[in-house]
Amino acid sequence: MTPKEHTSQTLTDTVNWHLAARVEDFPENGGACVYVEGKQIAVFNFSARNEWYACQNMCPHKQQMILSRGMIGSQAEEPKVACPFHKKTFSLSTGKSLNGDTCDIDTYPIRVEEGVVYIGLS
């Protein structure tokens, strides 16, 4: 089963918003993986900051589909996720590799409306 297409509410010309799941499907201050348009996307409910983030689920270090199970936190003001395998960390806001020894990751726009989480894909 793939998630239903949200009546594609297009903000700009390029971003299509896809329904991911409901707010309560995601643990507080943690993440889970959603399957959208054939893509594995890690979604994080950073409730301590009242923020949501979405990024690719694949950790670029060993190409593992795992980042959604990573631990989130902050480095100075930067929100980040640490891969469970070797704790490589990535900025959730920019996707930058914070250890500087792996590639960066893709991040996606995300919005929450009436208890539903949407992800923007271009």
């Binding site: 799941a21 993986c33 979604v43 190409q63 902050s74 480095q75 250890n99």
Partner: protein, 829 residues
């Protein structure tokens, strides 16, 4: 507004823009021309493009960055001429742009030697993402490939060919690999290692022709030999793209490239040239670092700032080729035979090291490292800073343990000006200033504030050494605070948690921390909370390390392993059968562990609760193999069966395992009980081990297998079971309360002031008067025990968290397995 046009949007052209907007956000209008369709990307890591299949992760900056900084980026457009009189340039689309200042950063292009047939299809170069795309498409219908050129880049290309699933042959004209960096012995060692990885290497071969009809099928060498290959990657060096100089009359270097002076100015003082296209004193540089230096100088000159100028660059390199360390620095080859060399070779391990030292034995002049380049940084610094060599210079290449000590001293010996981080140009002086002057005490903070170690990261160990050495010199006792979020040691936090009755991470960080936690403090606090209250850890699942969050050990590929508790290693045939049945039903790989139990590997996250349910129904419970917790209490068969046995080691082991099961600690805890001095259970290698004596039991503590094996030492002798348990309660509780995060008991005891004597006083003599309290605290934890697996199995909300996708019941489609000896294993990574 000064109009600056940059021709070439490669690594160096980009760096120029970045530095210019940082230094002078206003006053310059920058326009950049790039012939490639994509904005500048990291060519150094070009091979990673194969993994990403997208250029995005490699971009130096996204297009948006150029917009935000008001830089006009024009891609897919080549500049074809410069009109110096009119101060304008023209592109291939016929558009003309005027400039006040012009920057040439056109890089270089691969050199294709004039070999007959090099225009056949199947022949490629390795420089741009388009090259890689073309190669990858072509490789789908090919099996064999060759690489022309056994230099740095050629070997990288060969690795790419292997990754594309091709048989790969490397053809080098010189009699050795990487002829500019390695001597013959170094090349031999590298060759042997590469061949063992399946690469074919042909030296001293010169290619006469590339054969085939329209597409190549083979190549012929001048010695008459031939090689079948459906693809060829040419990697024979580079040629600067200096064609714009020709018609416009800019002066060129003797061996090509656009001639620049120390200020990176060409023969026209409104035109700079930087990067691979620039020729300084007849030299062009095929590395990125000198290009960045030139970009810095150009920006400094352009903005009227002070500049040290560009005076040449060191060509020392360290890299990992297909997983093999290779480094070469200074005068590596000593072709003038002016020095003495010391060589170390270990054919077994594939290690070759050579250093060249001055005839008087005082200075290091250069060297080669193959197979192990761990001390490259130190050696390179010694050479750059003209440091006096240690009394036994052979230590530099030989004994790694002594090297550690030597390296420790050498950070002290380094002069202030020594460049530690070459990516960001940070000196030792700057690091020391940050530590002494600005009071930085943490490695991460030091990296952030000086930028050292944020580039390639190779200097990180040295930065850390300097931090430790400087703090020591300042007389600072390095207080091990947890991380940037908690300015407390683990012991202090443990006390705060207990005193203030704190049960959650959120409360602790609100009251005593700052920020939002991280992968260091969250699991440490999780462990403290578990050791203090032994509540259900899944109540705060997202502060747990992944193993604790999913109550199983994560394995390659993202599946988990399941280890039920088998106390003391004793198991009934009925239970054995259940384990076998479960393994069969879920297609799990089964293995006996080192701790006398059975590991079932390869369970998908969604299968975990089902597997646990079946095991629990058969009377099993969690073995906590995933936690920083009590693991196993091994036992020998003991007096029930063994003719030497003094006491029943199995029963005692089971009693102990039942008591401490689920106990969480700063690190994992292992134990064992042996029925006599023959010690079949290997109790002396455990965190606490018990051995039967004529009169009772001996209790040993602080043993460790693992990376730094250490024997346990006697804490108390000839004691009865009850006393033994009381002492273990006290010992473990004392350890749990006072150890640093992730310190095993051995490490903790090694650091404990007063050592074993002090420990005996606290535990056996009760010198602190805490004995009863420690026992009571342990009792509390024992009583609070509940099987975590069972909680999940019986709680639908918890159970729902065990799946790969929250919006689909499907399993992770990327999971892949191979077979090995009739069982499944994950595909390698």
């Amino acid at each position: 507004m000064i109009d600056v046009l940059v021709i070439g949007n490669g690594m160096v052209g980009y760096k120029f823009c970045e530095k210019l907007v940082n230094k002078a956000p206003e006053g310059f209008k920058i326009t950049v021309f790039g012939e490639e369709p994509s904005p500048a990307y990291d060519r150094v890591h070009l091979s990673e493009y194969f993994a990403h299949k997208s250029v995005e992760p490699l971009l130096m900056a996204p297009r948006q960055w150029y917009e935000e900084n008001a830089i006009e980026l024009i891609t897919s457009e080549m500049v074809v001429s410069i009109n110096r009189e009119a101060k304008s340039i023209t592109t291939h689309k016929g558009r003309t742009f005027n400039y006040d200042k012009l920057v040439l950063a056109t890089g270089s292009t691969p050199f294709v030697p004039p070999i007959e047939g090099s225009n056949k299809s199947g022949v490629f170069v390795y420089r741009t993402v388009e090259d890689l795309d073309a190669m990858e498409t072509y490789s789908k219908n090919a099996k064999t490939s060759a690489v022309l050129g056994g230099g740095l880049l050629g070997l990288e290309a060969a690795k790419a060919a292997v990754d594309m699933g091709l048989e790969a042959h490397v053809i080098e004209f010189a009699p050795r690999l990487m002829p500019r960096q390695l001597d013959e012995a170094g090349s031999d060692m590298l060759q042997a290692t590469l061949e063992s990885m399946g690469l074919h290497i042909h030296l001293s071969k010169s290619t006469a022709s590339i054969d085939g009809d329209e597409a190549m099928t083979s190549m012929t060498f001048t010695d008459g030999a031939a090689l079948e290959a459906e693809m060829l990657i040419i990697s024979c060096g580079i040629r600067p793209r200096d064609e714009l100089a020709n018609e416009s009359g800019l002066e060129k270097g003797e061996r090509g490239g656009i001639k620049i002076d120390e200020l990176t100015l060409t023969s026209d003082c409104d035109i700079y040239a930087i990067g691979e296209v620039a020729s300084y004193k007849g030299m062009t540089y095929g590395l990125v670092a000198p290009g960045y230096d030139m970009a810095t100088v150009a920006v400094e000159h352009l903005t009227g700032a002070d500049t040290k100028g560009f005076t040449g660059a060191d060509m020392s390199t360290k890299l990992k080729l297909i997983g093999v360390d290779v480094a070469s620095f200074g005068d590596a080859l000593d072709e003038g035979k002016q020095y003495k060399s010391i060589v170390f070779e270990d054919k077994n391990a594939g290690i070759y090291k050579r250093v060249n030292i001055s005839k008087d034995g005082k200075k290091l002049m250069g060297g080669i490292l193959v197979g192990d380049a761990s001390n490259y940084n130190m050696l390179f610094q010694m050479m750059l800073n003209d440091m006096t060599l240690p009394p036994h210079p052979e230590d530099l290449v030989m004994d790694t343990s002594r090297q550690g000590a030597a390296a420790g001293n050498t950070v002290d010996m380094l002069p202030e000006g020594a460049q530690i981080c070459s990516c960001e140009n940070v000196t030792k002086g700057a690091l020391v200033q940050a530590i002494e002057g600005d009071g930085v005490e943490q490695f991460a903070a030091l990296k952030t504030c000086t930028k050292a170690g944020t580039g390639c990261g190779a200097c990180s160990p040295m930065v850390n050494d300097i931090l430790t050495a400087t703090l020591k010199k300042m007389g600072k006792k390095v207080r091990k605070v947890l991380c940037e979020h908690f300015a407390y040691t683990r012991q202090e936090l443990f006390d705060l948690v207990k005193l203030n009755n704190i049960h959650s991470f959120d409360q602790l960080i609100n009251d005593y921390g700052k920020g939002h936690g991280c992968e260091t403090c969250k699991p440490a606090v999780a462990s403290i909370l578990a050791s203090a209250w032994n509540g259900l850890i899944l109540k705060q699942d997202t502060i747990q390390d992944t193993n604790d969050r999913f109550l199983a050990n994560i394995q390659k590929g993202g599946t988990y392993s399941v280890i039920p508790r088998i106390a003391g290693g004793e198991i009934t045939p009925e239970k054995l059968i259940v384990i076998g049945e479960v393994a069969k039903k879920y297609d799990l790989y089964a293995k006996i562990t080192g701790g006398q139990r059975i590991d079932l590997l390869g369970a998908r996250i969604d299968q975990l609760p089902e597997i646990w349910e079946e095991l629990i129904n058969a009377g099993f419970e969690s073995g906590h193999a995933y936690g920083k917790a009590l693991r196993t209490v091994k036992s020998c068969v003991g007096s029930s069966w063994c003719r030497y046995g003094l006491h029943d080691s199995v029963s005692f082991a089971i009693r102990i395992e039942e008591r401490y099961k689920g106990l969480r600690a700063p690190h994992k805890i292992k134990s064992a009980v042996s029925g006599c001095r023959r010690e079949c259970a290997e109790a002396l290698s455990k965190d606490f081990g018990i051995i039967a004596t004529e009169k009772g039991w001996n209790l040993y503590v602080g043993g460790n297998g693992g990376a730094n094996p250490q024997h346990a030492v006697l804490l108390a002798g000839d004691i009865d079971e009850e006393t033994c348990i009381a002492y273990i309660d006290r010992f473990l509780m004392f350890y749990i309360k006072t150890a640093e995060p992730l310190n095993r008991t051995a490490t903790w005891m090694n650091k404990l002031e007063g050592g074993l004597d002090y420990l005996k006083q606290v535990v056996v003599e009760d010198s602190l008067g805490m004995g009863k309290q420690l026992e009571a605290e342990m009792q509390l934890l024992v009583e609070a025990y509940a099987c975590e697996w069972k909680e999940v199995v019986n709680n639908p909300a918890l159970r729902a968290r065990f799946k790969h996708f929250v919006n689909s019941p499907e399993a992770d489609p990327s999971l892949k397995f191979d077979k090995q000896r009739a069982q499944k294993v994950p595909v390698g990574w």
